[in-house]
Each structure stands twice: as structure tokens, then as C-alpha cells.
């Protein structure tokens, strides 16, 4: 107990020096917490956006579909399965789809695209596609032969709302299939690449076009949040186990491995920056504590001579370092938390060339922040750990001092 008080008083013996070191710590803590909140927010948004534009959190398919993506890998849903999907609590929404590659052409221009047949009502429980229509409207259940395409795709084809497009492809029965569809809406997506190749028709239309019967290619399922993906997958596995088609359940990570890798890579880069920052601050703490110890050589000598155990001296110096860091940590958090929370409520809208780089990677040009308690206690642990490591050398030096030599110091 006395050690703690001693350590605390020692810290404040040179207020100016301590203040500078604390300031460095405050600065580092502030930066780390705010930037972790930013990175976390941005990554979560990337996942959310991707997931809510394409595969959902879990994609249910026949075995081999992800690699081959042909009509041979199909699922058939019976009433029991539909009921299960509708009632499972983990399922926030589910959307059955048929996907196939066709040639889309208008007059003399054509593009190969992946056309997706969707059930409009169910689709909007999983994806935000129906809300991204900029001209016209989304597919409506009742009307036949409607097609919605990406704005950029429309530009390439020279098509606009009301035009007719020819769909040309290969049916499930291996016959050639072709039919005319009317453009009823144009989509604008944050992912330019996706927008350039997106064509959506109704599920029933595409099943008829491909002579697919009531088969489907995939089911996109939405969980409450990306953290609940695993739980959703398990629930689906149990619930749909008896389905004939022996479905496989892929998480978004398996469907979009490049997204996950990019996030991890980004995180890595960020951790490196944090490591550098913390190391620099750590050296600052080391220097401060070391100087403090060297200045007090005589005093330490007296204490040791009078009977204080070296282990106690070690502890006192060690504690000084931790306290220094703790003060910096507290003030740093006091500044950082409100700042991060404010940004959480007011995301930054990016413009100009920055916005273009965002769109290049398929993100909306907005920087979102998200502060979680795990960020806070991980940063705290990190700072305290650095302070502990920085204290080792000075504390050892202090405890190993020879009282006789120390007493002779001026």
C-alpha cells in the first residue's frame, strides 16, 4: 500500500516531465481509439453493403455450385422448407434466385451478363437492390418479361426505360433460348463493376426461359448482423437438413473471399501503424522512467540500505510506469470516446477524387465510425502493456543497485 503511494508521488516529482510523457500517451490513445473506430466502421459497412447487394450473410446452394455455377447445380424447395425459412428466428430475410449467363442485346450491341431471376417481395428482405432504382421501377411480381439493368450496362447497350432487349442463352435442356424483355428500371450501385453486369428479371420468367421448372440456383439469407453469421448458418443447417437437394451453406466469407482478405490486409496495415506509434510512445515512457530512476540513485541507495527489499524497489518503479500510462490512458479516453461517438453519429461524406477511390473498391463515399467496448479495453491493455515493458529495464536497474555505490552518488 505504501508502495503505491510512493510510486504515485514519485510520478509527480517532476510535473513538467511527467506532463509531457502523459501528453504523448494521450495523443497516442486518442489516435488509436478514433482510428480503430473508423476502420471498424468502414469495414463493417463494406461487409454490410456487399452482403446486402449480393449474397446475403449465408448463401444456400447445391454442392459444387460456387465453383461451377451451372444450371446442373440446383435446389428445389418444398413447402416444409419454405415454412422453415419463414419461421426460423435467425433468418431476417431470405431470397430464392436463379442465375444464368446470357447475351443481352439491343439492336446491334450486346453484352454477356449474369442475369438473376428474383422474387421481388422476398428479394427486398435481403438486398437493397429494389431501393437503388434511379429510373423507372423494380421488377413487379405480376407483369411478365420485365427486366431491370444497371445504369452503366444500359449506357453500354444504348438502352433506356421502355426499350426492348433480347435475352439469348442456353436452357437447362441445352436448347437455345431467346426472348424479348422490356427495360422497366435502371439501377445505380456503389460497385461499378457489378452495375456494369447486373440484369434482373422475375424468378418465374427466368425459370420459364431456362425450362428450369421450379428449380432454383441459390438462396440468399440475411442474418441480424455479420457477427451472427455463424449462428445463422448453424440454424439453417439444422432446419434444412432433410432437403433432398442436400444443400451446402456458404458464409459471405466463402462467397467473397477477396472482400475478407482485403479487410484483413487493411487491418494489418493499420496494426503496423499502431505498433509504430505505440513503440515511439513506449520509448518516451522508458526515457522518463529511466531518468527518474537515475536522478534518485542516492535515495534508492538509502532505501535499500535501510532494508527495503529489491523486489519492492522493482515494484515501485514498475508501478510508476503503469501509473504514468494510466493517467495518459484516462485522459486519452476522455477525449477519444466522445469524439468517436460524435463521428459515429455524423459520418464523414467524402468528395472529389477520394470519392472516386471509394467507388473503385465498390464502397459508398462515406466514412462510418463504430466504437465498441472491445476497442476500448484492447487499447487500454495495449498501452499498459507497453508501459510495463518500458519499465522493465529501469526497474531492474533500480532494484539491482548496490546501496554502497548508490550512496556515494552526488
Amino acid at each position: 500500500m505504501g508502495e503505491t503511494r510512493l510510486a504515485w508521488r514519485n510520478v509527480w516529482r517532476s510535473p513538467r516531465r511527467t506532463a509531457l510523457t502523459v501528453a504523448a500517451t494521450v495523443f497516442a490513445v486518442f489516435l488509436v481509439v478514433v482510428f480503430v473506430a473508423m476502420t471498424r466502421g468502414v469495414h463493417e459497412k463494406m461487409i454490410e453493403d456487399s452482403v446486402r447487394l449480393s449474397s446475403g450473410h449465408v448463401l444456400v446452394t447445391a454442392p459444387g455450385y460456387l465453383q461451377k455455377r451451372t444450371l446442373d447445380e440446383f435446389l428445389v424447395l418444398d413447402d416444409a422448407a419454405v415454412h422453415t425459412l419463414d419461421t426460423l428466428p435467425e433468418v431476417v430475410g431470405w431470397a430464392p434466385r436463379v442465375v444464368s449467363f446470357v447475351l443481352l442485346s439491343r439492336d446491334v450491341t450486346s453484352r454477356g451478363v449474369a442475369v438473376m431471376g428474383v422474387d421481388p417481395a422476398r428479394e427486398s428482405t435481403v438486398t437493397t437492390l429494389s431501393t437503388r432504382v434511379v429510373d423507372g421501377h423494380f421488377i413487379r411480381g405480376g407483369s411478365p418479361h420485365e427486366i431491370v439493368i444497371g445504369e452503366r450496362l444500359a449506357e453500354r447497350l444504348g438502352a433506356s426505360v421502355g426499350d426492348q432487349l433480347l435475352l439469348y442463352g442456353v436452357a437447362y435442356t441445352l436448347e437455345t433460348a431467346y426472348d424479348l424483355y422490356t427495360v422497366v428500371g435502371l439501377l445505380r450501385l456503389p460497385d461499378a463493376r457489378l452495375e456494369r453486369s447486373m440484369a434482373i428479371v422475375s424468378l418465374a420468367d427466368l425459370q420459364e426461359f431456362l425450362v428450369f421448372g421450379d428449380r432454383i440456383s441459390e438462396i440468399a439469407v440475411l442474418a441480424e448482423s455479420s457477427e451472427r453469421t455463424g449462428a445463422l448458418r448453424d440454424a439453417l443447417r439444422r432446419g434444412l437438413a432433410m432437403l433432398d437437394s442436400r444443400p451446402v451453406f456458404h458464409t459471405w466469407r466463402e462467397v467473397m473471399p477477396d472482400l475478407e482478405q482485403l479487410i484483413v490486409l487493411d487491418d494489418l496495415g493499420f496494426y503496423v501503424m499502431v505498433a509504430i506509434l505505440i513503440t515511439v510512445v513506449g520509448f518516451g515512457i522508458l526515457n522518463t522512467i529511466l531518468m527518474a530512476v537515475l536522478e534518485r540513485q542516492r535515495e534508492l541507495g538509502v532505501m535499500l540500505a535501510v532494508g527495503l527489499r529489491p523486489a519492492a524497489v522493482f515494484r515501485i518503479v514498475f508501478l510508476e510506469s503503469l501509473m504514468l500510462a494510466a493517467v495518459g490512458l484516462v485522459f486519452g479516453l476522455v477525449l477519444a470516446v466522445p469524439t468517436a461517438l460524435w463521428f459515429e453519429a455524423h459520418p464523414i461524406h467524402v468528395g472529389g477524387t477520394m470519392a472516386a477511390t471509394f467507388e473503385f473498391v465498390g464502397m459508398e463515399p462515406v466514412i462510418v465510425f463504430r466504437l465498441t467496448s472491445s476497442t476500448l479495453w484492447k487499447s487500454s491493455l495495449l498501452i499498459l502493456a507497453v508501459a510495463a515493458v518500458a519499465a522493465l529495464y529501469p526497474a531492474l536497474k533500480a532494484s539491482r543497485a548496490n546501496p554502497v555505490d548508490a550512496l556515494r552518488t552526488i
Binding site: 451451372t70 449467363f101 526515457n287
Partner: protein, 404 residues
């Protein structure tokens, strides 16, 4: 004189100074290396784009950039363009291509693809597509061969020698097609390219799309990348308004934006790291000044001006930062040299391939990349020394001399 004085002052307490120098070095080396990896990544993206499809300059029929349709072609094998290129010594190589879209069918699957007709020999001089061949043969000898990206072939479940059918809409709007055999498979650093591209011989592509002897584009690579813009302007002037001449930066401005955004990131990184460092430097200077109160008092008493005292302290800060910078930069350069064969990032291969970055990445540091950290470090060191310097200068000599 003052310089030497400042230097000697620093080393009066070698351990303390050494720790600060190490801190500065670590900060610099770490930041430089981080940025080196980032710049390496962007470099790769640019190089991949240029070497796979963009080339340095592309020539198209006027209006192609806004409306890249099959019908916008350069007639007569782009003879006038070729002639102009042959005359210019800045041009290293050129090739012609036909570009269209279509559907490719195999017995098991189908996929939407871009169909590119290339000139066998010339394409090899311009792009890395030929080197990217992992199986089979390049185009040339055998007729009716198609080259597919490895991932495209996987999707279609075809192998070398298998038959595929390509359906397209030709230049007059008719739906037509042709049968080909898979003659070769390629694997480039860009997963996008591998997944969606089919290569045919130029002549066969022209027949398929009913283009006669017209081509869609002429791609040019130069000897010296710095001459791209100059060449572009002179070609544009020479060839007139019926064609568009564009540089890679104009065709893919995003690549340029990425470089700019990394520069901005570098700013923030250096500013943050050096600010943290500045606190440490200020601390050490303050301690040093405090220890020398008597000495400074004496110096002032015998006539050293306030300004020289300030200068002396500032110089100490500059020395410490300078030494740290030198060591840090040397470490960064050394590490860059050691890592010149690349860092193995194969765990992230797919993510990187989406942006055309190969899984072995070498950090890249050029002279211009050192400018920014130098300036920011200098400013940080200067600011760090302000308080200690002013503190030292403000002491009254009489009181300072009496200091214990």
C-alpha cells in the same frame, strides 16, 4: 560553432540521447517501410494494368471513350495510325486488337465474356499476356484456337483441346457465332481479366464480328514512360480528329487517384508518428536544459544573446532528429533491399488479385518518397524544441547562476 556546441551537449548524457535517437529511428523506419509496401502495391496495380491491357497509349476511333461499341472501328487495319507509329522513335512496340462481347458455351456451362482479337506476334511485345500462358500454345500456328483465362476455363469446365462455342452479335447486328478449340490457358495478376476474357487471333475475330479489315484499337508501349504525354499529344495532332489518342492515366484515372490517396495517407502517418516523437524529444531537451541552468546562466552572463541560446537548443533538437532520420532511413532502405524479392502475401492472393496485384510484393521507396518525412520531421523537431528553447532563454542569468 553553435552546431558543434549543440552536438556536444547532446552526448553529455549518452544513454538518454541514444534512447531518443532509437525512438526516432524506429518511428521513421517503420513509417517508411509501411509506405514502401503501399507504394509497392500501387506500383504493381499500375504495372499490371499497363502490361496486361492498357499499354501506355491507346488509339481508337473518335467517340470510342464515351461509347465503346463494336461499330466504332479504325478502318483499313488502322494503316495511317500504324504508319505514324512506325515513324516515331519513341515507340517501342505497338499492336492492334478487336474488342467485342459475347457468350461462350461449353458442353457444361456458359459465361459472358469479352472477346479480344490479338495479333499473335505483336501482342507478345506489348502485353504480358503471352508470358502469362500456363498451358498450351500462344496464338498463331493452328487455326480456330481460343485462349482462356484459367479461372474462365474452370468455370466452363473445359481443358486444353476441348471445343467451345462463342456467340456474338456482329457489326451488322446479326447474332452469329463460331466454334473454337481451347488452345491455351493464361494466368495474369488480375483475377478480373482471367475470369472474363477470351483471346482469338485478330483475323478470326475480324471474321467473327464481320469487321472486314477494321480494328477496334491500336495499343502502344514506349521506351521511356516519362515521354507518354509528349507522344500522346504529338500523335493526336498528327492523326487528326477522326481518332482519339489516350494515355493510360486518362483511360484509368482511378489508378492515378489511388496514388494520390496513398500520398495523403502518408501525410497522416508521418504527422501522427512525428507528433508522438516530438513529445519525447521535447522531454529530453527540457531535462537537458534544466540540468544546464547554471551553465546557460554563465553563458548569458558572459554575453551570449538570448537568440543564440534558443538557436543552440533548436540545433540540439535538429541533431537528434537528424541522426535518428539518417539511421531510420538507412534501416528502411536496407530492409527494402532485403525484401526486394518480395514479401509473400499468398494468404491474401485473391484479395490482391482483384486489384491486379501479384501475391509477392516488394516495397518500393524512391527519392521523392523521402521528401515528405524529412520535411515533417524537421517541422516536428523545430516545434518540439520551442518550449525548452524559450525556457532556456528566459532564465535571468543572475538567478540561473545561483541555481543548485
Amino acid at each position: 560553432m553553435l552546431l558543434r556546441f549543440a552536438w556536444r551537449n547532446l552526448w553529455r548524457n549518452p544513454r538518454r540521447t541514444a534512447i531518443v535517437v532509437v525512438a526516432v529511428s524506429v518511428g521513421i523506419a517503420g513509417s517508411l517501410l509501411s509506405m514502401g509496401v503501399n507504394y509497392g502495391m500501387v506500383d504493381q496495380m499500375v504495372v499490371t494494368a499497363i502490361r496486361t491491357e492498357l499499354g501506355h497509349i491507346q488509339v481508337h476511333a473518335a467517340g470510342w471513350e464515351d461509347e465503346p461499341t463494336l461499330q466504332k472501328t479504325l478502318p483499313g487495319g488502322a494503316a495511317t495510325v500504324v504508319a505514324a507509329l512506325e515513324r516515331d522513335p519513341r515507340v517501342r512496340a505497338w499492336t492492334r486488337r478487336v474488342r467485342g462481347d459475347g457468350l461462350v458455351n461449353s458442353p457444361r456451362a456458359s459465361a459472358g465474356v469479352r472477346v479480344i482479337g490479338v495479333e499473335g506476334e505483336r501482342e507478345g511485345d506489348v502485353s504480358l499476356l503471352r508470358e502469362a500462358l500456363v498451358a498450351g500454345n500462344w496464338l498463331g500456328a493452328a487455326p480456330r484456337r481460343a485462349l482462356l483465362g484459367e479461372s474462365l476455363a474452370e468455370r466452363l469446365q473445359v481443358e486444353l483441346g476441348d471445343k467451345i462455342a462463342v456467340s456474338v452479335q456482329d457489326a451488322s447486328g446479326d447474332l452469329t457465332g463460331g466454334g473454337f478449340r481451347v488452345g491455351g490457358l493464361f494466368h495474369t495478376p488480375s483475377s478480373e481479366l482471367d475470369r472474363s476474357t477470351l483471346l482469338l487471333g485478330l483475323g478470326e475475330a475480324q471474321v467473327l464480328f464481320a469487321l472486314g479489315d477494321a480494328v477496334s484499337e491500336v495499343v502502344v508501349v514506349v521506351h521511356d514512360p516519362d515521354e507518354v504525354e509528349a507522344l500522346r499529344t504529338s500523335l493526336a495532332k498528327e492523326l487528326g480528329p477522326q481518332v482519339e489518342v489516350r494515355s493510360w492515366a486518362q483511360l484509368e484515372p482511378l489508378l492515378v487517384y489511388m496514388v494520390q490517396s496513398f500520398d495523403m495517407m502518408a501525410w497522416y502517418l508521418y504527422a501522427a508518428v512525428f507528433t508522438a516523437m516530438a513529445f519525447g524529444i521535447a522531454n529530453v531537451l527540457l531535462m537537458a536544459v534544466h540540468e544546464r541552468t547554471r551553465e546557460i546562466g554563465m553563458l548569458r552572463a558572459i554575453g551570449m544573446s538570448r537568440r543564440r541560446v534558443v538557436a543552440m537548443v533548436v540545433l540540439e533538437s535538429m541533431w537528434v532528429t537528424g541522426v535518428g532520420l539518417a539511421v531510420g532511413m538507412a534501416v528502411a532502405l536496407g530492409a527494402t533491399w532485403l525484401l526486394r524479392d518480395g514479401i509473400d502475401l499468398s494468404a491474401f492472393a485473391q484479395g490482391l488479385a482483384a486489384y491486379g496485384v501479384p501475391p509477392r510484393l516488394s516495397p518500393v521507396l524512391r527519392a521523392r518518397d523521402f521528401g515528405m518525412p524529412l520535411v515533417i520531421a524537421g517541422v516536428a523537431a523545430g516545434l518540439a524544441s520551442l518550449w525548452p528553447a524559450l525556457h532556456a532563454a528566459r532564465e535571468r542569468p543572475a538567478e540561473a547562476l545561483r541555481h543548485v
